[in-house]
């Protein structure tokens, strides 16, 4: 077993094998069973790719709500036959590359011994849930690759590359914009002593000086490169596909209030508020972005980013998903990819009892919700209240408790020094 964990080729090889096996299993199931292994979204992607391949708009496919770039990336699937698998291979390849970045960051950044780094990387690459989601054709693996590449390039101080990846990630899935806050806050490259309090003549110039100090080279480079990438992608897509592109890629996600049952604590409230019969004057759900963004975009980055960037990104994502108005299990992957960085120094591992309880309540919270949802969706029982609502609130509170632990753990750390140390070591 020790030999397995000390050999990165073995670990990554098994990750590849796991995905190949699942892909093969998927082909069999798709061809011989009316119940498909392939995710419905993958049919949406490949239908859109077919439209794109014949010079039409991907938005001719109902429920295609992504950048046309995704349809273009899956262009080969339009050739049919075995090429149908191309996108799944791309997504699976993406999540393995994401694992590669996780490993590199743990090795170089956190200076972790190979075997330990591989074990933590395996939380992602040998995770059957991750492998399954990619091979069923969900694009999360591809997103994972971009996010991990972003983190890696930030830690390597490859700022322009990081900016491009950030712009691309936001173009692809919107939510990664929250990482801009933590990365910007983290990039305080020269907090050197030369400009200490002496220069302050009046509060306003003091503010100006600190603002100028804040706008250091890295931050400006990151802001420019990410903005240029994001906007030029949008300009090109808008020029090609016009208003439907904006409509489906952005506005839909910003304005949507999904009334169908999902894990979000707001779900039943949204169903209640959305229906015309219960028109109330107070639209509390419109304020839902306040707790969500104030945590994910402001308070968490400010409090934690300079201590440990990867774990801060975990906390941000966790807060974003927990307070989101829509939440499906696919969203859990967004934070799971950061777990290897956080768990390596978390109290959940130091104190396994807490760790096990955390895992159990997190899984149990979902299980209870799923049981209620099953009764509603397949047995036709009206479990909206209290069952479904209570279980989504309970799951929300479990998530809050976990988020509290994560924040406290990151607060305990001075990982900043660790990453700096390794970089200093390399530079010298």
């Amino acid at each position: 077993m020790d030999r397995f964990w000390s050999n990165s080729r073995l670990v990554f090889g098994s990750a590849v094998l796991l995905r190949v096996a699942l892909l093969g299993f998927g082909i069999l199931q798709d061809n011989y069973s009316p119940v498909k292994y392939t995710d419905i979204d993958y049919f949406v992607f490949t239908d859109a790719a077919r439209y794109v391949a014949t010079g039409r708009s991907p938005y001719m496919r109902d429920t295609y709500r992504y950048t046309p770039l995704l349809a273009w990336m899956l262009y080969p699937t339009a050739w049919g036959g075995i090429w149908f698998l191309f996108g799944k291979l791309l997504f699976a390849f993406g999540d393995i590359i994401a694992g590669g970045f996780v490993y590199r960051i743990l090795r170089d950044g956190a200076d972790m011994p190979p075997a330990r780094a591989l074990k933590f990387t395996s939380i992602w690459i040998l995770n059957p849930m991750v492998a399954q989601i990619s091979t069923r054709g969900s694009s999360e693996g591809l997103l994972g690759m971009i996010i991990m590449a972003l983190l890696w390039s930030v830690l390597q101080k490859r700022i322009v590359l990081a900016g491009c990846l950030l712009g691309f990630a936001v173009h692809l899935k919107i939510y990664p914009f929250i990482y801009a806050a933590s990365i910007i806050w983290w990039l305080n490259e020269s907090a050197s002593a030369q400009t200490s309090g002496k220069h302050t003549r009046s509060p306003s110039t003091g503010l100006l000086v600190s603002l100028l100090k804040f706008c250091n080279r890295s931050r400006i480079l990151l802001a420019l490169s990410s903005a240029i990438t994001f906007f030029s992608l949008n300009v090109v897509m808008y020029a090609l596909y016009g208003r439907p592109f904006l409509e489906h890629t952005y506005f839909y996600h910003l304005t949507r209030t999904d009334h169908r049952h999902n894990f979000s604590p707001y779900n039943i409230l949204l169903y209640l508020q959305a229906s015309p019969e219960t028109q109330s004057n107070v639209h509390l759900e419109r304020l839902a972005f306040l707790p969500q963004l104030s945590l994910a975009l402001v308070v968490i980055p400010l409090a934690l980013a300079r201590r440990d960037l990867p774990s801060t990104m975990l906390a941000q994502t966790f807060a974003f998903v927990t307070f989101n108005k829509v939440c499906t299990s696919q969203y859990f992957l967004w934070y799971m990819m950061f777990l290897p960085f956080y768990l390596s120094s978390s109290s959940l591992l130091r104190n396994p009892q807490v760790g096990i309880v955390a895992l159990v309540v997190w899984v149990l919270g979902q299980a209870v919700w799923i049981q209620q949802a099953y009764q509603l969706e397949f047995l036709g029982q009206s479990t909206f209240v209290p069952g479904l609502w209570l279980s989504s609130i309970a799951f929300f509170l479990v998530d809050i408790w976990l988020l509290g632990i994560i924040i406290a753990d990151v607060g305990q750390q001075s990982t900043r020094v660790e990453y700096d140390k390794s970089r200093a070591k390399k530079m010298s």
Binding site: Y271, S275, I393, L397, W401
Partner: protein, 524 residues
Amino acid sequence: MKQRITYLLEENDAEVGPEQIQVQDNSLSIHDLYGAKEHRVTLGLDELPQELRLVLNQCHELRIRWASQFLYAGLSPFTSRVSPGLHVFYTPRRKGHDAQICQLLGRVFGNELACESVERSFINVPILSERFSSTASFQYYSLWPSLKKFVTYVEHAVHESQQAKIRSLLDVNQLDVDCDIISHACILNAYWAEPTGNKHWKELIETKKTSGTLEVGILTNEKPLEPEELSLSGVLAVVGEDDRPKATKFSFPSRHHPVPASDLPTYFYTHIKSPAGLHPTLQLTFPSGTKSLIPPNPSCALHAHLTLPSTLLIDKYQLQDPLFLSSQRLRRLHSVAGETDLEAPNWAISRWGSAVLLELAHPSAPPSTPQDGATAGAEAGAGAETAAAAAAADWTVSIPLHLRYLEPRANASGMSAVDVPWPVVFWACAAEEGTKMGMNPFDRTNLGYDGLFGTRTMFYHVPPAVQAAALVERVPVPVLDLGRARYVELGTVVAVVVGFAWVVWKLLAVGGKEGERAQGVKGE
């Protein structure tokens, strides 16, 4: 005005004695006749009340099909069916012109009809080919169970002496209204499957010279010579002209036919698989179908035409996979029109719903497509062994539907319900080249599905099961119970605020430590 009344007798009731039909100068009386009756009235647009005329002048065509939700027999040539309820097909005179059809429908059929405007309430009818199409371009539907309001409206419009006759429309099983600007006329067609009230038809049919021709026929089906044809024989009389009924026999090609008679009767019933959940399955069962479901000729394909209210929908993407289709005993989704948004809740839908045409698998043709020949072969092999045991097993086809979210309801224990009409089931077969269906004096088009086939298609209609109580299925739908949801608003807010406060407190604790540490550093 022109009228035609046809009594259609079953073959064993076909002997008509002279006392059963008596012709006088300006009247004709009927006694002791048992059979179906069709009354067809042709009115010029200028014979109609002004409020109708004004609207109809703006219509290129307006066709109304109403069918009762109670079971009735469709005796040939009246075998064609539509799903129970009110179907309206409409083509405007000018593109994009509304002509206030909804207001007209409201006035004639009842203001409770959920019809706002053509744009917001009608769906576009899919047609095979615009160029050759003879079908209307917009469709409206409502599961409108009663013609009470309609009958009241017509009563007000006619002369007092006619009102009693009009009231018989309350028992009608089918009602068609066809108005179009080219003929500048409206044709009303009422069909009773059996005598109303008492067991036999006993009627006195009168006419005045001024009120146009009135023709009465008493007919029976004969065995036709050609498969495309129907053949009728019996007596005809024009009231006021003929002094005695004249014997007649005539044949004509027909679009609609009954399924050919066989040892086992062919019929179907519809039910919703239980539990329905949010994805109800509509099942069509053909009793002894494995034996009785035989195509009238090899060119025929079995179809179901569904009229789905907006609360239900089909997912056209789900119905693309051949394996899934064959597992449901479906062959393909032929067409779907109307509200097909897969995600919208019911309150976001303004139009009435959608119309779906599906091709069904039938026993003599294995459901699987040729490319998965391996599985089909295996199935056939297994089928041969058990063929004797399953001699006349039922044949059940499943149609997967999906419910939209419905409005929350108060004091309903969290349950709501939607009604879905039974579909129309038929074999669609190719007719001989050059068959002229329009020659049929009883021809019926614009039924919602005929426009999806070529003009030379014959429909062999599979009738609904006789034991059916009503041709409507009720699907229970779980909804949010407002009575128990009062605490949801407050509860959610409290949970979110508490959660938010907890996280902020944790973050402040971290910040506090940082402050302590910073002070510690200074101290050093």
